[in-house]
Amino acid sequence: MTIASIKGIVKRYKDQIALDYVDLDIHEGEILGLLGPNGAGKTTLIQCLMGIIPFDKGVIQLFGEEGAVFHHENKKKMGLVTQEITVFEELTAKENLEFFAGVYGLKGEEKKQRVKEALEFVGLSSKAKQSPNKFSGGMKRRLNIACALTHRPKLLIMDEPTVGIDPQSRNHILDAVRKLKEQGTTILYTTHYMEEVQSIATRVVIVDQGQVISEGTVDELIKNIQHEEKIFIDVNDVSTIPIERLRGLEGVKQVQVSGSVVQIISNAGAGNLDRALSIVKETSGVVGIQAEKPNLEDVFLTLTGKQLRDGEDDPS
């Protein structure tokens, strides 16, 4: 079931097009990774989806509704984790959560319980009465996330929630995202760290220059761009390797020798690893073996012609 649907959204900032006829569907229960470099339009897309900024063209459907969808009842079903840390520094962690829980309409014992649960969820129970200005960057990020969780949103939008934090806090946050998915929360997770998307997303949408340039599961995206497989076999005695037999394998495009390494390039899906290894082993000992598979970084490079972490600041 589609929980949110964006159709043909256009957003301009004066002469600059931030979103250029973007189409996007978010399905219930998934973690949709929105991947793109800085300035790709990710934050603008989120702002449109949350009703924070108006857009020039297009339609947004939320929870099956179309038209005036940004009413309070729909907003209560959504949560936003902002890219910036937007907690109140003058309030304690618990007071911060009480503020947001209250605005989402929680009261009394239910509010108390949800605040307690949210603090436990992000591992800040022991710091409940401390002010965030005494927190580390990672702890502030976790509180920033907790502020969007007290009302148990159906759709949680996380805008680069791990920027500028240590690996330990990042892992904590990624584990929390997985747990939320297990609990049934639908998550739109934007980032420019491809390893995060690769590790948590059930589906990935790649955006660049305000356009969706590709979407699918990580495997689908890789398959789409994978035109060849590379196998590197490090051998004891390269002079004994039957190069011509290797060249004769089905789908092999090229066999090269570089030092003690034999490099075999085949068509994608040829599955020559086992066969090539058997041939090499007949005449020489094998010291090491490596099969190179593309990752999301390669997908992005292939689709856009540039590195994922290139680009300028988001115009929004």
């Binding site: 702002q47 949350m50 009703g51 924070i52 309070h72 009842e73 907003k75 209560k76 959504m78 936003l80 902002t82 910036e84 937007t86 109140f88 003058e90 309030l91 007071e95 009480e98 503020f99 947001f100 209250g102 605005v103 989402y104 309409g105 002010s131 502020c147």
Partner: protein, 243 residues
């Protein structure tokens, strides 16, 4: 009315804003203490202790800057770093902005009341009727918050709005002749008699404590008219700029 319920948290935030507390409470206490010690029991030409006149003007003068906290909170929450998060919440942001304004006014009234109590108890400053003084402080706080918000909504650059609020405060103090005597100019006199909130507030307190209740009311009404005009401007500018 969950927006109005947030006043508790805005109040807590303001009470823990130690820099503002330093500027609007500690600095005036230091200045009042120093001036009170220097001026002692000296009397002016009218027989009123100079200390009473100076201290009342100082307390009212600091009320001109009370709106700074309101404009800062409105800016931070609705126009700067917290904008996206607060706009994503299921609440009326205009009502939330109004709640910040209310909290700012209450905060400023509390600080003003502390200053009145301090001056009355420690230096025996004659404020006349305490409730009347509180009413005047309330009017001054309201006017300052509203005017600061008008500045916030009138210009795109918040730094300029901050400077304008300082010009408003310092300008009124300057025109009131607190830094140096103003020339006997008809325009300046008229401005001080009918427009300068500091002079209107001082006159209303001075009149009431010396028995001139009707003149006191007149100045309080003038101050209220200023508030109404400023509120009208606030609605006009706020409607255009509030998210």
């Amino acid at each position: 009315m969950k927006e109005l319920a947030t006043i508790r948290f805005i109040g807590i935030r303001m009470s823990r804003d130690f820099i503002t507390m330093l500027l609007l409470l500690v600095v005036p206490i230091i200045l009042i203490t120093v001036f009170s010690i220097i001026l002692g029991e000296a009397e002016g030409l009218t027989g009123t202790p100079i200390r009473d006149e100076t201290v009342v003007l100082l307390v009212l003068g600091f009320q001109l800057f009370g709106g700074a906290i309101t404009m800062n909170y409105v800016h931070q929450d609705l126009f700067a770093e917290r904008k996206d998060r607060l706009l994503s919440l299921p609440m009326n942001t205009r009502l939330y902005g109004f709640t910040i304004m209310l909290a700012g006014i209450v905060y400023s009234i509390v600080l003003g009341t502390i200053l009145i109590a301090y001056t009355a108890l420690i230096f025996d400053v004659n404020w006349g009727n305490f409730m009347w003084a509180l009413l005047v402080i309330t009017l001054m706080s309201s006017l300052s918050s509203i005017i600061c918000l008008v500045f916030t909504f009138s210009v795109n650059n918040f730094k300029i709005a901050e400077r304008l609020s300082e010009v408003y405060g310092v300008g009124m103090i300057l025109l009131a002749g607190m830094f140096f005597p103003m020339p006997d100019n008809a325009l300046i006199n008229m401005f001080n008699d009918y427009v300068n909130p500091l002079m209107l507030a001082y006159t209303t307190i001075d009149q009431v404590r010396s028995g001139g209740l009707s003149d006191g009311w007149l100045n309080a009404v003038l101050l209220s008219v200023l508030i109404i005009i400023a509120f009208g401007l606030l609605l006009l500018t706020g409607r255009r700029r509030m998210p």
